[in-house]
Structures are given as C-alpha cells and as structure tokens.
Subunit: 337 residues, 4 copies
C-alpha cells in the first residue's frame, strides 16, 4: 500500500491532536509540519517529523505532499486553502473557512475550479452519540421529524481577548450547532430567529457580543430546531441533542467521566461530563481524520465539504442580523443559495 | 372545627377529581353540586351529595356556601365567577377565566371590588417535581437564573371539533407553560416570539391552528425561556422543565409508570411516562384544592390568583400575534400591566 | 350493594393505615375497632368509628362482623386469629402469624378446619414495581429464570429494645424477602445458607442478633436467589429486586422522592429514596386491603394465604439454623412440607 | 531517555493488545516476539517487530531484553515465568500463573529468590469505573465497609472444548471477581461458600463444571462480599460492582455503547453494554501495561504482584471445595498464608 503523504499547518491544541491521530494510521505518512512558533515545531520534531517549517508557503512547495491539514488560526484558513488549491493538494481545514461570506465564496469557487478535495472540521459529526441519533432518525425510528433540540454549553467562558477576535458567539460557538441542526435531520435551514444576552459577564456586552443565546431555526419543510447556548456551564461541557418526531423521540446525553453513583444521606451523586471538546470529542477527532484519509484513498465523497462550511456561516450571519434587528431573518436575505 | 362549606359547578373529568379530593378533607363539607347533565349529577349523588342542581344560579343562592369550585366549560367561567363574586363566595376556577382579555379584566375588577378570593387552577404549580425545581432555584442552588426550558407534549391530539373551540394551541395548551415559565423563576415576561406549524395533522392548519410550536420568552431582566409544545407525542405525556443558571442546572424529568428496567438482546427498556394530566397530576390536584381550602381557613394569600390567569392569557395573546406577524411581540403591545 | 363489615384490632402505625384505607372503600363498613391503648381508640373515634373496644374478645362477639384486620403486636396474632376462626370471621393478619413453628401449624390447622379465609400482610407483593417484575418474568420476558437478587435495607436500625423482641433479623426483616423470593418467580425454596454479622452496632451481637446478612437460597429446580440485608442504610430505604434469566434481566429500582437532577460544579445530584415502608408501600397497603376485600366479596382465592406465612417462617428458621451452624440447611430439616 | 526493551510471548487476542499498547509507548522498545503459530508471528512482523521467534527459550536468550510479557496459553505460564526468572527478566504474566497451587508456590518462591519483578494481568484493577469506586471507598465516602456486591456475567458461554481445559468457572472466570473483592476494599478473604449449577447448558454439568454461581465471601473482619456469575447474559457483558458501608453506597454500572435514549409507543430504549472484555477493558489494558512499564522505570512497587495471583487461586480452590462439599470452606483449609 502506498501511503498518503500529509503535511500539517498549525500545531496548537487541535493541530497536536490531528498530528497524533495521523501518526497512528498505517495509511498515512506525515512528511512535513509547519508552525510559526518554535513550541509547535518542537512538538513535531519530538514526534519524529523531519521536515519542519515556519513558513506555510515553503512547506507547500514539496510536490510529494498529497494532503494538508490546516489547524492554524482562523484568519489564515482562507489563504492557506487557496495556496493548497493552487498547488493541487487535498485539504482538511478547521472550521470556519473565514468569517467573511464574500471571502468564503471566493475560496470555494477556487477550490471548485481547481478540483481539489476540501473537508471542513465539523468534528461533532463524528461523535458516536450524535451519529446514533442521526442513524435512528434516518431509519425512521421516530417517524417524520418535527423538532430538533440542541443544548450546547461550554464549561468556561473564554477570555475577552479571545472573544473580540472570535467572530462572536454565533460564528465561534453556535456554528457547530448550526451544522448539527442540518446534519442530524439532513435538511436545510430557511429562517433564523436569535435572542441573546450577556448574562455571565457584562464584558461580553461591552465588546458587542453575547454569552447566552436561544436560536429558533426553521427548516425548508416548516419543521423547527431550537438551540440554546451558553459560554459557561458550572457543571461542564453540556452537549445534548434531542430529535422529536411523529413516532417518538431520541436523545443523546452527555458523556460522563464514569458511571459511578454514590448514595449517602444527602442523595445520590454522579460524575460531571467530560471536561471540554478535547476530552468529549477525542474519538471523534480520530474518526474525522481517518474518514478524510479513507475518502482520499477510496476516492469517495468527503463526509463534510466546503458547502457545509458555507451554510453554517450563512446561518450564523442570519443569527447576527436577527439579534441586531430583533426579528426572524430569512437565510436568503444573507445569500441566495 | 367548623367546616368550610363547598359547592361545585361542573362534574366532568376535572370536576369529579375536585369533588373526590374535597370529600376526603376533614375541613370541608360539600353541600351542593351543579351540573346541567344528569351523568354529572348522578355521580355526585352516588358520592353522597344531597343538594344537586342543574342550575348554577339556583345553587349559588344557598347562603351557607362559603366557596365554589368552577370546573364547568370555559365559556361559563367568567359568568359563574361574577355570580359568585356578587354572592360573596370564594372561588376556585379552572383556567382560563376567559379567552377574551376585556372580559377577564372586567371579571378581575369585579372580583377585586367585591373583595372575594379567586384562585385559578394552574395545577402544575402543585406538582412535586416542579416544586422541587422552583425550591432549588429559589435557594440559589443554580446561582443566578439564565434560561428556563420547558417541554410540554400531550400524548394524543384532541379531535378537531375540540380544537376549534379551544382557543388554539397557545391559549389551550401553552398557557400552562406560560404560567410555569413565570412561576418557576418568579419573574415576569416582557416579550414573546412564537413559531409553529401543523405537523401532526394538516386539519389543524385548515381550522387556523397549529399542533407544534416553539416559543421564546424574554423576562424583564433579559433572561430567557424556551417552550416546545406538541399536541401528540407517541411515547406519551412529556412534561419536563430545566432551569440553567450561573452555578448549575436543575431538571425535572417525567414520571414513569414504574422504575423497571428490562435488559435483553436488543438493549434495555423502561416504562412510558404516566399517561396524561389526570395521572401525572393526580397528587397535584389534591394539593391544589387542599391549599385553596387551607388559604381560606387560615386567611392567607392564595397560591395562584386572578392576576396569574391574566398574565398567562396576555402571553398567550402575544404568542398568537407573534405567529401571525412572524415577529417578536412585546407583552405591553397586548396590555399595559 | 351490601357492604362487608370490618373490625380492626390494633391501631398502631400499620393499623391506622389499614383503617384509613378501609374507610375510603365504598364496599366496606368499619363497624368496630379495638386497641388496648386510648391513643389508638381515640384515633378511631376521630375517624367516626362508633364501636371502640379495649378488649379483642369483646369486639369479636359482634356477630355482624364479616372480617377482622389484625395489626396488633406479633405475640397476639396467633391468639386473635384463633378467636376469629372460632367466630367464623375472615381474617387479614399482619405477618408473622407467630415466631413459633408449632404454634403456626396449629393455627393453620384450625383455620383450615373452620374453613375461614386467612390472608397474611405481605405488603410488598402489592407494590407496582415488584408486580411489574413478576409479570415480565411470568410472561417469559427474561426466558428461563436463573437467579433472583434482592437488596433490602432499612433506613435506620431499630432500638435494641425492639430487636430483642423482634425474633431477630431473619424473622423480623428478611422474612419479607423470603416471601418475595418465592413470589417473584413462583418457586419453592429447598435450601438456605445465611451469613451475617453485627456491623452497624455491636449491641446486636450482645443480644444474640445480627444487623447485616447475606442469604443464599436454592430453589427446588437448582436455581438460586441471593438476599442482602442491612438494618441501616445511610441513604434510606433500599428495596431492589433483580431477576436474571436465559434471555435477559429485569430490575426494579428504588422509588425516589422526585425525579430532579441538580448539576453543579461537583457533579449531578438526585433525591433519596422514599423514607421507609410507610412511604414506599403506601399504595401497596391500599391495594393489599382492597384485594382482600374483593376476594371476600367475589369469593376468589386470597392473594397471600396462611401457607405463604408458613413457608417464609420455615425459611427464616432455616436461616437461623444456618448461621448458628455455619452450613447450608435444607428447608426439610425444619419442616417436611 | 533509555527505553525499556520488551519481549512478548504469545500473540493471541490479548497478546495483540499488549503488543499494540507497548508500541505506542515512547518509553518502550519491543525487541522480540515469540509465537508458536505463524499467524501470531506475522502479526508481529507487520507491526514492524524484527526479531520474531517460535521458541520462547530462544527468544529469552537475548540479554538486552529487560522485560517479558507472557500472554501464551495458561499451561505455559509457570514454565515461562521460571525461565524468565532464571534469566533475570521482569515479567508481566496473564493470570493465572497456574491452576495448581503447589506449582504456583514454587514459581513464586523462585521469583522471590531471583528477585525479579512479576506482575499478574488482573486488568479490571485498571478500569476507571472500579478505580473510582475503590477511591471513594478508600476516602471514606461510604464510611466503614460492610458489603461488596459483584455481578460478573459474560455475553456468551465458551464452547465446551474450552471449558474442559479452563479450570472451571471459578478458576477461569470468577477468579477476576475474587481479585476484585480483595482489591476494591483492600481486605483479605477468610472463608468461601459457593453454590452453582449448570443452568445455561447441561453440557457444563456433564464435564463436571457449572455455568452459573453465587459465592459468599467473608473478609477477615467479618464483613462480606457476594459474587454472582453467569457464563451467558443475553444482554451482554455485565460488570457491576457495589460497595455498601456505614455512611452510604457506591456503585459502578456497565459501560454502554452510547448514551442514546429512544422513546416510542412501547417505552424507552437504551444501548447494550460494550460487547466483551476486549471492548469494555480496552483502556484498562492500556493503563495496565503502562503502569507496569512505569513501575519498572521508576523502580516502584508493582500494582499487582504474584501474591495477588496466589490469593485469587486459593479463593478459587476454596470455592471448588465448597461446591463439592456444599459447605463454607476456610481459605486456611486450602493454604496457610
């Protein structure tokens, strides 16, 4: 078997995970890694990577590279994808492609014209809990879908310094839930109504953002989804999905540290959920990159593509407009698909 | 101990429950019952009630009556309360007082001027599950409240013949949830956004109603509630509440038929929820009427009063306006409290 | 409908419950009550009972009495049943009939020769949780039965003054579990091995008793049951049953105060079980006495009879012998059924 | 860092897992592998192992080897450990060392005299569920320990051809539970009473074995443990532990495939447990071998040693004697520790 030759750009928290997950795959050879900081480069060297760069452009020149994994900061994504597209490399890029709709459309146009494969890193699609729900919905276990409910709360609010560059709650955090809303029932969204506030920390409000939100989505067939988001849940990372339909309902619950139940004179006690996305989605990250590799090898469709990134961005922009104008916003007001 | 003398108007499903619950109270003597149908009157006679009427006006003339329980059809509530008010009787009335805001305001004005006690039958306030949640929220167990989530789904859609006279989903069904949203965190609602559709049965749409809805409520302090309603859940009566706050979250789950878990080669299986409101809220009905009686005896405040009925109606009317105009509606657009 | 005329002997904790449960039945008239203490008699008077006695013999003379409920202290049971048998009354008697096997056999012989109906108060047979398990087992939901597991722990150890008169852990507490072991799979026990210790309080040991035990029962067909008992569980009344078989397993869990789940930075928290037998089996007591009444009216078999009391006693005596001699004891060593 | 040089003997199901888990450790170099069958050797070659043997004696001659992992058939364990001991290698050996007590004592004597490190593969000690229970017990969360309950059921009975060579239920299967009983509360067992039968398949009985058992263990301080075993649970691998004490109770439940709950008109449905030990204990195997490596590197005590293997064997032999003679057997009857 000829191995697929991979390069990685950006060896931060997620980049490290992708690197480790690629290194255990027999089908993959990691031939190069790029990070502007020495900490990231040293991590790669310790993992046995020989070609380590501080410049993306330098790295991508290596013609033997089949595919590049982009887990650098968001504002580099579009540039790096474009460079890879011009070089004819397959790309796995962390979401979002960019926070600017125009820019995303341009990148996708280039990707399309160059005929390269582009997968977006919506890791939750590879979580076994949500996959089980999607499968049951797809098999008709709950009949015709009526309502999707998504709860998505982070264990700790990020620092305001991060918030101001994040694109805001809807593009930084809810965007995963917008993708989940589309994915779990395989339907497109046509309208968004968002309501939110800075309830955790008034600083969010000062920088023009919110930390808590409730979003009503309407699907093309008139069915609905509701998402509730919070930047900080005292009890940890809360990632639940419920789908209700004509014949029943299916839910996915949080993954706890362990199953123990302690009973004492106060009541019974159970564990907290796994701390945050790195813990909760550890397996999902493995499967995500494996599925990308396998799709390249088998020349099959990618499980998440550029359009998925685009649609989530559009919904996010509609949510921003909705909260500004306090009214439901049609997705078509943002972009005519 | 002198017993409080009670009369009941309307011996249908709920009326029978109230009658039985009053009969087991040592502090109460049921002196009269009224029902236009012989079936209801015969039920009362079998229960040992001696004075049985087919006319409300006739019954209310009995000057020994201290209090009247009104569980007759909705369109008689306002009239019956007014007659009782003129006669100086305390009143326990099933919700809603009336579907017309003007009429409700007039009744409440009369009630106030006559100085009689009026309690509305929001039975869910007396359910031990929701009371536990409210108590924990009140004690600060979850810190500052951010979000209330209410799921309320009936086990079976009513016939269309009932639907057309019901006042519609928001005034017939969601009104309980509007009351719960106010009750559970003890805050007033200022804005309503409702989205809905006829997903179960297109006949709902034909008669100008919906069978499925998602409602976003905004409290006076900017915190939020989301309610999801369905006229028909295949798995039965779904009555859940979740309150999320700065220090945690508390949930009340459905009451199941029993605790059994059956494990076989297909997985594990548990019971359905208790069938419908008569089963789920059997104890709540007992406590509700007991608390009414005790408030009369002890001359304390009623646990639910006319204003609670008014506020829920206003929210319901705002929801109706919201869905018609597809926009968030301020409660103050309906009525200036 | 002619009402069955009932008398009650012993108005302690359980007697009060039986009295109240009989008073709400339309098919029953409580014509007399007996209690040697004025507190019990006054309770009955307040409940409207006119004929109140301090002597059982006096009470039983009333020839109009159809049935007597015996909830007086254990050492009176045998005498009272015999007197009732001679008077031709049907009897509902709290367990145990007597702690002495010879005495029980004599009473049962008399009951049989007089042809009266005798039901023993094994209240747990009427608990909806265990009934659901029994029903599923009976329907073959778990295939052929292999193992029964019963956990039975009290919330608080009784005072030593009670313990010394109780007959010991096996006859006072485990006897309910011996009955459950027979009832839940409808099989007879042939061998008992008991192991126990005074782990909660060494005083138990001083008075020749134990407070903690593990009992292995072998059924006639070689299948097994295990019971674990404790006089004191810090988290409350623990009443669980599990039945394992060739096609699966079914469990009944504890009944909690409510369904709430509180999530905070420490984990998630749930309620304690209902406090003790009066709370947990409140409904079971109602159904038990109702089924007794209905069996009398319909002249059908009693759901628990004298033999059930006898069998549990025999198993209990075998357990006592087993722990004394530290060896498995055949039930037939105690009594040849 | 100098890497520890490892050799492996036996590349069956468990051997493969150990090999893969060693290969991902930076602290380890796997220098040799031995398997009498070509299938096992080829697996090792594919994993990049260069020195592959069909003779254990040949392999062990390599003086660079620091430690050997023995996952060959049970009847080779004692020989292989002895050879390794003579060669001065540290040993990780799958349980049991041998089914013959004399043989085990001899091996342990040699191990001791040669001063090599020997760890036994009681994988369940490294399962996060049981570790959490042990930690809570150790911290006093349930007060003084009174009772341990272990349920251990396999998803499918092995073929009779396996059974006859397995040493029987107690030495093949229950031995894990005997170790758990000691481990979870850190106490020694002094007495065993076992009861069992062939309920799943009469063939077990024909070959002198049982497929279902209930075992009562008594600890040195008079507290107790109960174990229930079955060779086949229709719903899968059932691995639960419960510890009850003076201040509460703690339980570990099964690990399910996922958290989903499906609600339909029949009730609610959840997943099966993870299929069998390879799935349930996948992480435990990783941690077990990692802890062995770290103990070697850090020269600390091994988490499981030869004496742990000895004690479990003694309890198993006592269980065999108990069931044969149908009486409780003192551990000291088997061996004076």
């Amino acid at each position: 078997m000829e191995k697929k030759k991979f390069a990685l750009a950006g060896i931060g928290r997620i980049g490290k995970i992708h690197l480790e997950n690629l290194l255990i795959m027999d089908e993959v050879e990691v031939v190069a890694v790029m990070d502007p900081y020495s900490e990231g480069r040293e991590f790669a060297i310790q993992k046995g990577i020989e070609n380590v760069f501080s410049s993306y452009e330098q790295m991508i020149k290596d013609s033997s590279i089949d595919a590049v994994v982009i887990s650098s900061p968001t504002d580099t994504h579009a540039d790096y994808v474009e460079i890879a597209a011009h070089a004819g490399k397959a790309v796995f890029c962390e979401k979002p492609l960019d926070l600017n709709l125009r820019r995303v459309l341009d990148v996708l146009k280039l990707v399309s014209s160059k005929g390269i494969k582009l997968m977006l890193g919506f890791n939750r699609r590879f979580d076994k809990e949500f996959l089980k729900v999607k499968r049951l919905v797809g098999e008709g276990a709950i009949g015709k879908h009526h309502l999707v409910k998504i709860t998505s709360r982070d264990p700790q609010a990020p620092p305001i310094s991060y918030v101001v560059k994040s694109g805001g709650l809807f593009l930084d955090m809810s965007i995963h839930d917008f993708d989940m809303a589309r994915f779990i029932v395989d339907k497109e969204i046509v309208e968004v109504y968002a309501k939110g506030a800075a309830l955790i920390n008034p600083e969010f409000s000062r920088v023009g953002d919110i930390d808590s939100a409730v979003i009503t989505l309407t699907y093309e067939d008139g069915t609905m989804a509701i998402i509730d988001n919070s930047r900080e849940a005292a009890y940890g990372y809360d990632q639940r999905v419920e789908v209700f339909g004509s014949k029943g309902m299916v839910k996915a619950e949080n993954n706890l540290h362990n199953t123990h139940q302690l009973f004492n004179s106060k009541g019974s006690h159970r564990s907290l959920p796994l701390y945050f996305f790195l813990e909760r989605y550890a397996d999902a990250y493995k499967i995500e990159i494996r599925d990308f590799v396998h799709a390249l090898i088998n020349k099959t469709d990618l499980p998440v593509d550029g359009n998925d990134g685009l649609q989530s961005l559009i919904i996010g922009l509609a949510a921003i407009k909705s909260i500004k104008e306090n009214r439901p916003v049609k997705v078509s007001e943002i972009y005519q698909n």
